[in-house]
Symmetry: C4
Subunit: 273 residues, 4 copies
C-alpha cells in the first residue's frame, strides 16, 4: 500500500520514502512578507487563488494517486478559511502548522516568535480539530530559540533544515529531543520556479523545467542509500492547470518506481530512532 | 464564428472563451514607472517601438486569424497617437482604458488615483470616439478606492485580479456591482519573459519559452470546467518579428481546438450573470 | 559579394542588410560602471579577456566568413591598446567610437558628456589612424544634448535607439541631420545572456539560448519588408571558445540566406536617403 | 595515465590539461558573506550539507574516475572539520587555501587581508598536515596588496583571474614571481547555476543546463591551441544526487577525449615556465 507505514527495520534498504509538504498560505504569503501589502488587493488575490481555485484540484490529484500529504497552514489562514482545513482533513491528509502570520523569524523578537509559534498551532487545532505536530517556519529560517519554542508546543516534526537528504533527530545539550527533522531543499520546491509579484525576485519558469529538476533529483536520490525525497509545494503556485498536469506526471513517475512509499510527515518521522 | 457572442446557457460547457488583452503603452511604460525617465530618449524609444513598428503587424496578425482583441491604452498615449486608436477601432477591436499616465496606484493619493482613472477614460473616448468600459490599472494593482472610482466612470470590465481562472462579478457591501472581473495571471503575460530596460528586473527569454508556458496552460485550462484563457500582451514587447511568429503559432494552436471562442472583454463580461 | 555596398534602389526589396557591431570595451566595461572598480584587479581581468584572448579568434572568425564588422572602442581602451586598433583596421573593419571612458551619460553633466564624446573620438582617431564616424553611447542612453554634441564631432551613424528595425535619419528642429540611426535591440545583444560580475545583474545562459533568440529573430526579420538585422557583441563576452562556435553557426546560417548582405555601419547608413 | 604529469615540451600541443578546483566552504559560505548570517541556523545548514552529505559522494566519484582534484578550504572550515581534510588528503587530492573566514577582500583593511591569508594557510596546514601552495580568494577578488601577501606565505598557484584560458605567471615590477595563475571563468563554475539563499541573487537551474554550458566550452576549448579547462565546484552545490549524476557524465565525456589530462593545481602550474 502506497501509504502504509514503513517498518523501521528495512525502511532505508527496501523502501524509498517520499514526503509531499504543501503550504496553504493564501494571502499570508504577501502580508507576512511586508505588512504594507495588506493594502494591495490585487497582490492579495494572487494568494487567494490557493483557496478559490487551487486547493480543490490539488486535493483531487492527490486522491487520484492515493497519496496522503501534509499541509502547512498559517494560523491566520486557518482562522480565515476553516472550511479549507475541514476539507483537507476529510480527505485524510495531515494538518501541519506554518506560524501564525507567515512573518519571517528574522524580523521578530523572541517573544513575538514564541507567540507566532503558539498561536499558529492553536489556530490550526481550533479550526482543524486536531493539534498539529508537524511545523514549518515562514521562509525556512530558525532563530536560536526556535527549538525551545516548538518543543514547548509539542512539535515532533520540523521541515526546515537543508543539511541532509535523510531524516534525523534534533539534539539539545547533547541529548535527543522529540523533534525529527525532515530536511528540505530549495531546488525541490516550487517557489524558485514560479513565485512572482510583490517585492520578491520574480521568476516564471516553464512547468517542464521544475519537472526536470525534481525528477532528475528523484531518480538520483532513489539510488542513494538511506536517502528520502521531500517535495515542497504551495497551493497558490502549483494549483494552476498546466502545473498540475506537470505534478501529475511527477507523481506518476515516482509511483512507477517499486520502492517508492508516500508518507505524511508524521509517518516519515517514525523512521528515525 | 470565432467572435460570436456565447449564449450564456452553455458558455462554460460547450465553449472555451479566450480573451486577448493588449497594452499599447508606448513611452508611458517608462515615464509612468519613473518620471526621471522622461529625460532618457533611448529608453523612451524602447516604448515608441509599439507605435513605429509593432502595432501594424500585430493588427495584421489578428486580422489574419479573424480575432477581435481589446487594446488597453494609457490616456497620454491616446493623446499623443490618436491615429493609432483610429486604426485599432477601424479594424473592429475594443478600446480599453489603462489609466492616464501609467503610474502605479501604489504611489498615488486618492485624489490622484481618481484623476488618473477619469482622465484616462476621457482621453481614450476623446481620441477613439467611443467611451471605454474595460479598464486595466497600471502594473496590476488596486487601492481600496479603485472599485468606487471605476464605478463612477462607468467601467464594467476589470482585467486586474489573479484569484480565479474564470470571470466573476465584483461585489460591494454584499451587493453585486456592474463590474465584471476577467482575471489575469503573470505567467500568461509577455512582460515576465521580454521586459528589459530602465529600472525593472531584466529578462530576455526565447519566444519559444513563453510559448511553452502559455500553451501548456492553455491546453490544461481547456479541460478545466468553467475556466477561460486570458492572455496579456504589450505591443512594444510582442511586436518583434520572432515573437510575432510565436504568437502566430499560439493563435493557430488555440484556433485548432473546436471549443475555442475568441471574445473581446465586453463580450466575455456578458458570460457572468 | 557579401560586403558589396547595396545599391539604394533595391536595397530593401532584393537584399537583407546585416550589421555586426562589436564593442571592444576591455577594462572600461567595469571602470565605466563604477569608478571604485578600478581597484578590483580580478574584475578588471574579466574585461581584459577581450584583449588577451578574445579579439584574435573573433577577427579570425570574421575573416573566415569574409565579413567586415564595426568595432566600437572606448577612448581609454584605444589609448591603452593601440595595437588592437591597428590589427582591427588592418583586417578591413570599421573603427567606431564608444565614448572615452564608458561612463553612462545618466551620471554626467553636459560639459562632461561633450568631453566624453570629443575625447573618445579623438582617441580612436589618434590610435587607429582614421576618424570614426560611427558612434555608440555607453549603456545605450542619450541625453537631450547628445545629438548636438555628436553632430559637432562629425558623427554620421548612431547605434543606440530601439524604436525601429530599419535604419532612419535623425531630425533636428524638423530638418534632416547627417546622423543616421541603425537601431539596436536588447535581445539582439550578447550582454543579456552572458554579462556577469561586478554590480550588474548576473546572467549566464547557454550559448545555444542566445543563438535561438537571435536566429528566430533573424529568420522572421528576413521576411519583414524594409527591415535589417543588427547584432551587438562584446569581445569579452563572445570571445570564449563555446560562444564563438555558436557565433560561427549563426554567421553560417545568415550567409545561407541568399538576400543577406553584411555591411559596416558606414555602408548601412548609405541606405537611408 | 590520467594524472601523469605532463612533460613541458609537448604539454600544449599533445595534451589538454583539465583542472578541477573544488571549494569546501561549509558554513563559511554564508558567515563570510554577512556576519549576521551566523545567527541563521537554517541558512548555515545549507552550507553544512557539504560536510554532512556532499563530500563523501564527491570523493567517491573522483575515485571512480581516477581523478585528483584540488580542494580549496577556508581556515575556519579546516578548524571545524579536520577529519574532512584528512579524508581528502588520504584519497590523494591536493589541499588548497581559501582565506580564513571566506570574507570578500573588498571589505577588508590591508592588515585584515594579510591576516586572512596567513591564518587561512596555517589552518589548512595545521589540520591537513601539509602546507598549501594553491590559493583562491573569497569571491574571486584581489586587492592591490594580494600578490605581496600570498608571496610572503609561499603561495605558488592562484586560481582567481579571468583574463586568459591558459596558465600564466604573475609578474611584479617587471620580474617573474613564483606565482602561477590558473585562470577561471564564471560560466565554468557551479555557483551561477545553483547558488541559492541568504542575500545573494537566487538561481536554480537544471543540472543539464550547467552541463551544456560546461561541455560546449570544453569541446570548443579542446581545439584551442594552448588552452586548458578549469572547472570550479562547491561541495555544497554539486554534492546533490542529480547534480552528481551530471558531473559524472561530464567527467566521462572529458575522459573520452584522448588528449585530456586531469591535473592538480600544483601539477598544472609546472606547465608554465
Amino acid at each position: 500500500m502506497s501509504n502504509a507505514l514503513l517498518s523501521k527495520e528495512n525502511a532505508m534498504s527496501d523502501q524509498f520514502p517520499v514526503v509531499i509538504g504543501i503550504c496553504l498560505d493564501a494571502e499570508a504569503i504577501w502580508t507576512g512578507k511586508l505588512p504594507a501589502d495588506a493594502y494591495r488587493p490585487v497582490l492579495l488575490s494572487n494568494g487567494a487563488f490557493a483557496i478559490k481555485e487551487g486547493l480543490k484540484p490539488v486535493l483531487e490529484l492527490l486522491d487520484h494517486h492515493g497519496i496522503k500529504a501534509t499541509f502547512f497552514i498559517p494560523g491566520i489562514t486557518a482562522d480565515t478559511y476553516p472550511e479549507a482545513l475541514a476539507e483537507i482533513r476529510r480527505r485524510g491528509h495531515e494538518l501541519g502548522s506554518h506560524t501564525y502570520s507567515h512573518r519571517s523569524v528574522l524580523g521578530l523578537t523572541p517573544a513575538e516568535e514564541r507567540q507566532e509559534i503558539a498561536r499558529g498551532i492553536e489556530a490550526v487545532e481550533r479550526n482543524g480539530g486536531v493539534r498539529p505536530t508537524a511545523w514549518r517556519s515562514a521562509s525556512w529560517e530558525w532563530s536560536k530559540h526556535t527549538l525551545d519554542y516548538i518543543l514547548e508546543e509539542g512539535v515532533t516534526v520540523s521541515c526546515n533544515f537543508q543539511d541532509r537528504i535523510r531524516p534525523y533527530r534534533h539534539f539539545r545539550d547533547g541529548l535527543p529531543t522529540p523533534v525529527v527533522e525532515l530536511p528540505v531543499q530549495w531546488h525541490l520546491a516550487d517557489a524558485p520556479f514560479f513565485l512572482y509579484g510583490g517585492d520578491v525576485q520574480r521568476r516564471i519558469r516553464p512547468a517542464a523545467e521544475a519537472e526536470s529538476v525534481w525528477m532528475e533529483e528523484f531518480d538520483a536520490t532513489y539510488d542513494w542509500p538511506g536517502a528520502f525525497f521531500h517535495l515542497t509545494l504551495h497551493v497558490q503556485l502549483i494549483g494552476h492547470p498546466g502545473r498540475l498536469k506537470m505534478l501529475d506526471r511527477c507523481l506518476t513517475h515516482m509511483r512507477g518506481r517499486n520502492r517508492t512509499r508516500f508518507l505524511t510527515c508524521a509517518e516519515a518521522a517514525l523512521l528515525v530512532e
